[in-house]
Symmetry: C2
Subunit: 103 residues, 2 copies
């Protein structure tokens, strides 16, 4: 959280705190443009696995959308599985991943 | 729709009709296990593009989830872009893709 505060300003930490206050949220991860978790509320192994897979997936999704309509842009990618729900919000510099419990 | 009725039974056509009755739905596509659109309410070119990209994407997502937790299974993949929203519900035999207007 300290890294987020220093490198991304108070906006990032406030957003993370606000998201984590939701009872269904297991954890959040901020992934940098190189695919490494910049800051997270999960343990580092889980964060690394999620950020690796979900960042690749969101890049794939973004490319697929661009092939369908070149002027379109990915806003959110949501994966609902039997056990969890994961949301990726991509951005040019950082991706934010939120892992949630199934409700 | 006739193909859906003959090969997948009345359940498939009923589901497609029900989904298409929603005002936000642009079209639905049923993709077979080989990645080809089996039946659709979109034009064939759009259907082919969507089924090709979104099926690959849902397979990627499914594999990523399995790497995170081997007992987990993908239920729904939702892509929200600036212009549209697409939902993929994978199954062992068929994938159903629903393309929606942004509301």
């Amino acid at each position: 959280m300290e890294i987020a505060h220093n490198f991304m300003g108070p906006g990032a930490t406030n957003t993370m705190t606000r998201i984590n206050e939701n009872g269904n949220v297991v954890g959040t991860i901020i992934v940098n443009c190189e695919g490494f978790p910049e800051t997270t509320t999960l343990d580092s192994l889980t964060a690394a696995t999620y950020s690796n897979h979900l960042r690749t997936l969101s890049l794939h999704a973004s490319n697929a959308l661009k092939e369908i309509d070149v002027t379109d842009e990915l806003v959110v990618l949501r994966l609902v599985s039997k056990k969890t729900e994961a949301v990726v919000a991509p951005d040019s510099e950082f991706h934010i991943i939120v892992v949630m419990r199934k409700h």
